[in-house]
């Protein structure tokens, strides 16, 4: 079935101090949907003046919000989760139009995870507590977690609502006010979500502010501001370094999530028996196509043991050939549109890089023509969306398609002889965000994931993102973690109260 395309506003401004406001300069940019490549609305092209306005609102709100009891903050987060859940299908459709991802993913992954994320942080903040230590009979050290105050959060475009939730939920749970900059490719779904949250009037004004616009005009002044206590960034390495450089000017705290080139490692024992686990492993190999490959942890390298390489490769290629690329609002579609034209072109450039370096195309390697999507309301097929066929290259790990994040439905397959070589190839990368290990061998099950230098190793699974599992990078993939209650400490600082109950002077002076 094809879900209805939601009718959306013609223009979107900013959300500051609990109100939807126009940008100070009154400028807007055209916003196309990747589904059909056609502009369907205008979005605020904000400037540093809007960032300052948002920071004013956040600073005005921070003292009160920081004193709101955890029980009440939890209720608010739960209310946000409920609002999201009640409007799940609508928000899924908006997210699909915004980003181009298939509706079955927004319905079954992105939005349910948003809901769960708010509920998770609503839960953990209730159970959280500081500590007290008796240093001697009259002296006590209390450790009290306190919010940072006002934080800046820069959201990527690959999961517009989910990545916003990953950042907003813990920041609010920890008692901070935030200024959020959505990605300029996907500015709409967060505004529709905010409209629902705003209508329910659950959040105090100024606690959550969203400023739309371009990176150099909004992201930069936000990251450079001396009025934020922390900046959280998800993106690529050069901008990550730049954000850290800006942050260093004010000793602002930073956390960075900068992508990866995740190995998905298949040992020979996966083939020991037919049946569901073999099937699960093949599905695991095809997971590179999830979200059109626009995932920081995309399993964009398949490493398969030589002894099973032929049969495994044949089965994976067969499975990938059967992936349906199509209209993102069609419930049958498995791979939708890439999020923007420049990504679409970049992926095509990597097809050339792969071929130039001698990688063999096992399947795909070209755009998917003829995905006819009725454009912007006129009912005519546009055939302008950004559709790419899921692609498998075969080659060796020194090739650029094995080393660089393509951010498309593209993976590169190579083989290994034994455990040592599997680990060596897995770690021969600048990055260390995700990895997958597939085996029935009890020894490999523990040793290989421990030996892989990555922050998240999926063992006999892939692409699961529960709120209760820490996510973040090793090496050039960044630092700091998202998800899990440990995330709260990236949004808090520790107050130590060192208390003496002794009436007697120390006797020094």
């Amino acid at each position: 079935m094809i879900y209805d395309r939601p009718s959306l506003q013609d223009t979107y401004g900013n959300y500051i101090d609990g109100a939807f406001v126009e940008p100070v300069d009154g400028e807007y940019f055209d916003n196309p949907s990747p589904i059909d490549g056609e502009t369907y609305c205008q979005v605020a092209r904000s400037s540093d003046a809007d960032v300052e306005r948002a920071l004013d609102a956040a600073h005005a709100a921070k003292a009160d919000w920081g004193r709101v009891p955890a029980s009440e903050r939890a209720q608010i987060l739960n209310a946000i989760a409920d609002i999201t859940e009640e409007n799940l299908e609508y928000l899924a459709r908006v997210d699909t139009v915004d980003n181009g991802k298939p509706i079955r993913e927004t319905l079954n992954a992105d939005l349910p995870l948003v809901v769960d994320h708010f509920r998770y942080f609503a839960g953990v903040i209730r159970a959280e507590e500081g500590s007290m230590a008796e240093l001697d009979s009259d002296t006590v050290a209390m450790h009290v977690p306190e919010p940072l105050g006002v934080v800046g959060q820069i959201i990527p475009w690959n999961f517009p609502l989910l990545m916003a939730a990953w950042k907003i939920a813990p920041a609010l749970a920890a008692g901070n006010c935030t200024v959020v900059k959505p990605a300029e490719q996907t500015p709409v779904s967060i505004m529709e979500w905010l409209r629902l949250v705003d209508e329910a009037d659950v959040l105090p004004d100024g606690v959550l502010n969203v400023v739309q616009g371009y990176g150099p005009e909004v992201g930069k002044p936000l990251a450079q501001s001396d009025r934020i206590a922390k900046v959280a960034f998800t993106g690529e390495t050069t901008t990550g370094r730049l954000v850290m450089q800006y942050a260093s000017e004010n000793l602002t705290r930073v956390t960075m999530e900068l992508g990866g080139k995740s190995p998905n490692v298949f040992f020979e024992s996966v083939q020991n028996a037919d049946g569901s686990f073999w099937d699960k492993a093949l599905e695991g190999a095809a997971m590179f196509a999830l979200n059109q490959g626009e995932v920081c942890t995309c399993p964009s390298r398949i490493l398969v043991q030589e002894s099973i390489a032929d049969a495994f490769t044949e089965a994976v290629v067969e499975r990938v050939k059967n992936i349906t690329v199509g209209h993102p609002l069609d419930s049958e579609t498995q791979v939708g549109a890439q999020a923007s034209n420049d990504q679409y072109k970049k992926i095509q450039n990597y097809f050339e890089v792969g071929r130039e370096e001698g990688a063999e195309v096992l399947t795909g390697g070209e755009v998917a023509e003829g995905v006819a999507v009725a454009a912007g309301g006129d009912g005519e097929p546009a055939d302008k969306g950004y559709y790419i066929k899921p692609t498998i290259f075969r080659g060796h790990n020194k090739m650029r398609v094995f080393q660089e994040e393509i951010f498309g439905p593209v993976t590169s397959l190579t083989t290994f002889k034994d455990v040592d070589e599997a680990i060596e190839i897995s770690n021969d990368t600048l990055y260390g965000l995700g990895a997958g290990v597939w085996t029935r061998d009890a020894h490999e099950l523990y040793r290989v994931p421990r030996a892989i230098e990555a922050g998240r190793v999926w063992v006999n699974c892939y692409h699961l993102y529960p709120a209760h599992a820490a996510f973040g990078g090793y090496k050039k993939s960044g630092f700091g973690r998202e998800n899990h209650k440990m995330m709260l400490d990236h949004y808090r600082q520790t107050k130590n109260m060192l208390v003496s109950y002794d009436e007697e002077p120390m006797g020094f002076f």
């Binding site: 940019f29 055209d30 092209r45 990527p156 475009w157 690959n158 990605a183 300029e184 490719q185 371009y214 990176g215 150099p216 005009e217 992201g219 930069k220 998800t234 993106g235 690529e236 390495t237 050069t238 901008t239 990550g240 370094r241 730049l242 450089q245 999530e257 900068l258 992508g259 990866g260 920081c296 923007s340 034209n341 420049d342 990504q343 072109k345 970049k346 450039n349 990597y350 050339e352 890089v353 130039e356 370096e357 020194k398 650029r400 080393q403 660089e404 994040e405 393509i406 951010f407 600048l430 990055y431 050039k476 993939s477």
Partner: protein
């Protein structure tokens, strides 16, 4: 011996965008990114806005703008000539061309054996 072939070149479209940006922002620099989202794309900044490190290498000038890359990334790129072009689009990064509704993109081709033999080593970007 013939001179070293350029490691990085600009298309006419890219040159036009560089000229436009230079008029507004003054001298520019490029740094090739890696990683997710807008990774693997060249970033254009005002000269000096991005702090270079000893970990970066200088590949040459792109239409009079110095072009840099992290050394560890360059190890995988050193055998290819990079052509910087522009496409319509909207990267989410701090690259200066984004408000123009275009994005710098990089195309790559293998150097021939002859060209490769003539390449001069890259210089460290900062000391």
């Amino acid at each position: 011996m013939p001179s070293s072939p350029p490691r990085v070149v600009a298309t006419d479209d890219a040159k036009a965008v560089i000229d436009q940006l230079r008029e507004r922002h003054g001298p520019l620099m490029f740094h090739q990114s890696g990683g997710c989202c807008d990774g693997s794309a060249p970033m254009c900044y005002e000269q000096g806005d991005f702090r270079l490190g000893t970990s970066d290498v200088y590949l040459g000038d792109l239409h009079d703008c110095p072009f840099y890359m992290a050394r560890d990334q360059f190890e995988y790129w050193e055998h290819m000539q990079l052509t910087i072009d522009v496409e319509e689009g909207r990267g989410a990064s701090f690259s200066l061309e984004i408000p123009l509704g275009v994005r710098f993109v990089v195309r790559s081709r293998l150097f021939s054996d002859d060209e490769y033999a003539r390449l001069e080593p890259v210089e460290q970007a900062a000391s």
